[in-house]
């Protein structure tokens, strides 16, 4: 049931936008402040995660939008298949196309902000796990704001408070990785929150979308 991938290849513009946005925002940080190496390095985790969040919010906007508008989501709801599973598949595909590239780009951005290359695996895993949680929790927000006129802004307002723990853990993990400390503890916490999100978020998202389909 991953035909969304095919769809995505037909419309590359949409999926490249968040990536470009991410790159842009991470570049903004050193431009906006004193590009001294030590300072930049300390700023890097925050910059990376804020950029990840903003780019993900941008991407989440169109997670369900098209399918909601052309009636595909309706058909999913009455297809006799598990609605939760279908939505999870959609979210997973969406993540592969948005979250994953961001996680891949992250280490590169980190290095550009002064992080040592040895930090790259740590940064990558932190962003990877974090983006999974972000996509899952964001799908709830996307479901709730489906079809609303200024849904994008509202989506941000709703999702950001919910992903606060992810931000905290992720930033800590990234900071540890860049400083050379052991990031395992924070990474485990990130993974744990990801698992929690995986178990609870799809149910909430399915409920949210059903309500929006009424």
């Amino acid at each position: 049931m991953r035909r969304d991938l095919l769809l995505a290849f037909r419309r590359p513009g949409e999926w490249l936008q968040p990536l470009a946005f991410f790159a842009l925002v991470t570049t903004l940080f050193p431009l906006a402040m004193d590009p001294e190496a030590a300072v930049l390095r300390r700023l890097a985790p925050a910059a990376l995660w804020v950029s990840l969040l903003l780019a993900s919010l941008l991407a989440l906007d169109f997670l369900f939008r098209e399918d909601g508008r052309d009636g595909t989501l309706e058909q999913y709801a009455v297809s006799g298949q598990s609605f939760t599973a279908l939505l999870l598949a959609k979210t997973a595909t969406h993540w592969l196309l948005t979250g994953m590239p961001l996680a891949l780009a992250g280490p590169l951005a980190a290095v550009s902000l002064g992080a040592p290359p040895s930090a790259m695996p740590g940064v990558f895993f932190a962003l990877l796990l974090g983006s999974v949680s972000l996509s899952l929790i964001g799908s709830i927000g996307a479901g709730l704001t489906l079809g609303l006129r200024r849904g994008g802004a509202l989506l941000s307002l709703l999702v950001l408070p919910l992903v606060m723990p992810v931000l905290v853990f992720g930033a800590r993990a990234t900071a540890n990785a860049i400083a050379g400390d052991d990031a395992a503890g924070a990474l485990y916490l990130l993974a744990a929150s990801g698992v929690l999100a995986l178990t609870l978020a799809p149910l909430a998202a399915a409920a949210a979308v059903r309500i929006s389909l009424e």
Binding site: L7, R10, D70, E74, L213, E214
Partner: protein, 230 residues
């Protein structure tokens, strides 16, 4: 029509016996916001029945269809399929039901064939041959296979969704304005599909503006919301 036998082949794939397939709507009350749209609606449908709701706009025909389909929750009343309340096992009910709403649920970037394949994979797979026959039945066989659905006209898209309908082996059809955007030939296609569906033990509820002239099955037409059929 030359392709009638082929259509019949598709539709006789009903795997479950039609003996006890029955839709019962008992004492349905539905509110939308403050409006009491459906008051104590009460009817039953057997295989071969068709019900046409010829209600004015805003009287609740879309809401009724969506309520039966499971999108809306009725404040009072029960809907039973094969004697079991739909709420108890919605997935089993949905498996045997097909809903055609206002939107066509077609992806603009995929071709017609891909759309069909995708839609059928949602239920149970479909073979290439069956898909080609379905396209032929609705008169879309001569389309350029590489053409995305975006470039089809509204009428062609509606025909495509009808093709999808014929490929799903659903016993109960809930059709909301199925004749929208269809020219006379398209309406004939729709009528033909309905005729075969009803003849092979299916049921259909349609919400329409203008009455469709289909001379098959037990065809009931309701003109006002407050009626209950015997």
């Amino acid at each position: 029509m030359g392709s009638s036998p082929a259509v019949r082949t598709n539709l006789t794939l009903h795997s479950t016996p039609s003996a006890d397939a029955r839709l019962e709507v008992l004492n349905l009350h539905l509110w939308r916001g403050d409006r009491h749209l459906l008051r104590g609606l009460h009817f039953a449908m057997e295989p071969g029945d068709a019900l046409q709701l010829l209600w004015p706009n805003g009287a609740g025909k879309t809401s009724l269809l969506r309520c039966i389909a499971g999108f809306l929750h009725a404040e009072e009343g029960t809907i039973r399929w094969r004697g079991v309340p739909v709420d108890a096992d919605p997935d089993a009910f949905h498996w045997e039901m097909a809903y055609l709403g206002h939107e066509t649920a077609l992806k603009a970037d995929l071709t017609a064939a891909e759309n069909l394949r995708f839609a059928c994979a949602l239920r149970h797979g479909a073979e290439e041959a069956a898909m080609r026959i379905a396209l032929q039945t609705v008169g879309l066989a001569q389309l350029d296979p590489m053409q995305p659905a975006r470039s089809l006209s509204a009428g062609q898209r509606r025909r495509l969704s009808l093709a999808r309908l014929s490929l799903w082996n659903a016993r109960l059809w809930l059709l909301d304005e199925p004749a929208a955007n269809l020219d006379a030939a398209g309406q004939e296609v729709l009528a033909e599909l309905l005729r075969h569906h009803l003849a092979s033990g299916g049921m259909a509820i349609l919400a329409t503006h203008a009455s469709l002239a289909v001379d098959s099955g037990r065809w009931k037409t309701w003109g006002a919301p407050a009626e209950s059929a015997a």
